[in-house]
Amino acid sequence: MNDKQLLEELLNKHKAGTLKPADRYNIPPQAMPQQDGVARRSNVEEVALGYNETQARLEALRCLGCKNAPCMEGCPVRIKIKDFIVEIVEGNFQKALGIIRENSLLPAVCGRVCPQEVQCQLPCTVGKKFKNVDMSVSIGRLERFVSDWGRKQHENSTPAVAAPTGKKVAILGSGPGGIVVATDVRRAGHDVTIFEAFHKPGGVMVYGIPEFRLPKAIVQEEIDGLEKMGVKIIRNFVAGRTKTVKELMEKDGFDAVYIGVGAGLPMFMNIEGEHLVGVYSANEYLTRANLMKAYDFGKGADTPIAMSKRVAVVGGGNVAMDSARTAVRLGAEKVYLIYRRSEKEMPARVEEVHHAKEEGIEFHLLRNPKRIIGNGDGVVNAIECLKFELGEPDASGRRRPVPIEGSEFTIDVDTVVVAIGNGANPLIGQTTDGLALNKWGNITVDDNCKTSLDGVYAGGDIVLGAATVILAMGQGRTAAAGINEYLAKK
């Protein structure tokens, strides 16, 4: 029986009300169609291709429609998961999209980049039944399917905008948080302007996360949607320098401000050799490759990037995977991923780890760099690492890696990409009197995402430290509600 026939048979049972949980457990989990592992090493096209309609409906049929819907608890923005999934089963994709959009404004993005295996899919009853989270209903892929369907139908209709209120809101930074605040605040009829430092809006979604994981056209559609709603976007504007928050409010008449400027200041390991030529922060490496399109250097693009043969990437998060996989696409023959804990502790999405391995990236787990060695000209030659073993659990509950003495070894590399996290962006804090920050320089906010200043709200990575798209979105929604309420009273 082929997939189509299977679907038909299951749908008939489903309609008749005779499809038992046991039948649902028997439906094979639908694999994500993807670009061939070898071919994709030399292109920047998206790797995961998305379900077709049959696959999506088969996967949707695996959902039990649990009364207590534990998946929803796992979702940071509480999407009504089982409701949209049942609409997929029925083929009502338009309705499914509507349900998702009630809670999430960027489903095409979230469906692709959310760490579902630690959010909605972690508590899924189906996964629990098999004692394997990989067997959970693929909620993220279904979300992606629905939003891609909508994009194809041009069904991402622009939300309606209420009558003008005469109030002005400034949004600093155009990452996912800023986009969500802009949408929700504009809907309420306020005059909204986004100020973005880069020459292209979208935040990490355009300069950090690579094309092969999140096509830039998707982000652009969201930006176009904002402009259609009448949101103004001013590019090349560094809040704090071009104008301060205070100037925006006092001179330019903005009644409220949302600060969503994201993470900043990449962390380094503070080891010997980090200033050598060929050592990059992941942010620089990815920005050159993505935003500045350095992969087209000499074919139109003017921004260069190291033409590496052997690359070491240090770190175990999404940023590290993106860097390693970008290095492959830029032509590196050998890419090593060096992480000081074991694979289980890696914060990266499981799918990205799989993809990285498929693309030939060599994992060096429980290893950490000790120094970077240069040739006489100040250019990277090799990286010296130390082996680690797992000791007692630390404050985060993860077992602490402890170095094994005398276990040093070196790997010959010409490029090192450091992807071990970011500090807070210091600019707004430095230039805004009275804005309370925590000891790491992140802005402190209350439950409504309001800062210590009246009318000033903040969210996303500048508040949470480097977090996720969905958490930035969630805070954006909270802040927007706070702003709308504040302005209604003002």
Binding site: A197, F198, H199, K200, Y207, I234, R235, N236, F237, V238, R241, T242, K243, G262, A263, G264, L265, P266, F268, N270, E274, H275, L276, V277, G278, Y280, S281, N283, E284, T287, R288, M292, K293, D296, F297, G298, G300, A301, D302, T303, P304, A306, M307, D377, G378, V379, N422, N425, P426, L427
Partner: protein, 282 residues
Amino acid sequence: MSHKILSKKELCKDVYIADIEAPLVAAAAKPGQFVIICLQTTYSERIPLTIAGTDEKNGSIRLIWQAVGKSTAEFGHLKVGDELENVLGPLGKPTHIENFGTVVCVGGGIGNAPLLPIAKGMKQAGNKVISILGARNKSLLILEDDFKAISDELIIVTDDGSYGRKAVVTVPLDEICQSQKVDMVVAIGPAIMMKFASQTAVKHNIPVVVSLNTIMIDGTGMCGGCRVEVGGQTKFVCVDGPEFDGSKVNFDLMMKRMQAYKKQEQQALEEYKHKCKIGLDK
């Protein structure tokens, strides 16, 4: 927002001066700050350039640049009335200007451009300003008249002696520091010149400020590409600088890092020049 080129000329071979429409930057800029320009949004490189002057009334900023790579050469080929798609700024911390007493301003090559507003500011704050300008030869000396207008004393040196004194800038700097009380040295120019000017100031126990022009991408403290070592610590030029205590900067490391893309830049420039020659650039 587009940024029209209001006026433009070639100051000397491959060195251009232009006034560019950028009202927001013009209103906010202070001496010592810089901008990042990007000619076209899709493919162009981001080029950091120090602001050489502002005209708030006109809403324009003055930029002076040398065509050292493809992007700066391409910028040099734009005409009055052409537009840049992106001008970001003002970036970096402004120069700390106060009445120190006597300030020696040392400029090398294109460094005279960012030095000018600082020298002006120092003069306005009541300092005695002694300017030392160095160039490889007479034809490469820029902004002499502007410095003459604001300096109490102006000394010109050239490497080949074709104009002024035949010397490097550190020679008169050393003499001045010996013969009179100097309270502050500001040195802007090639890294090697800043390195030796700093050493000279340190020798005389005089505070020295330099302005660094490292490789940059975002200019907002996100990428870390602009990092330098100052006093043994990693600093980010775009947010912690661009000015630093010259006695603490590790110039040798910085010079190496600035060579990172030499080969690729050279190749891009050659290709661009070739295209221009055969008329493919339009």
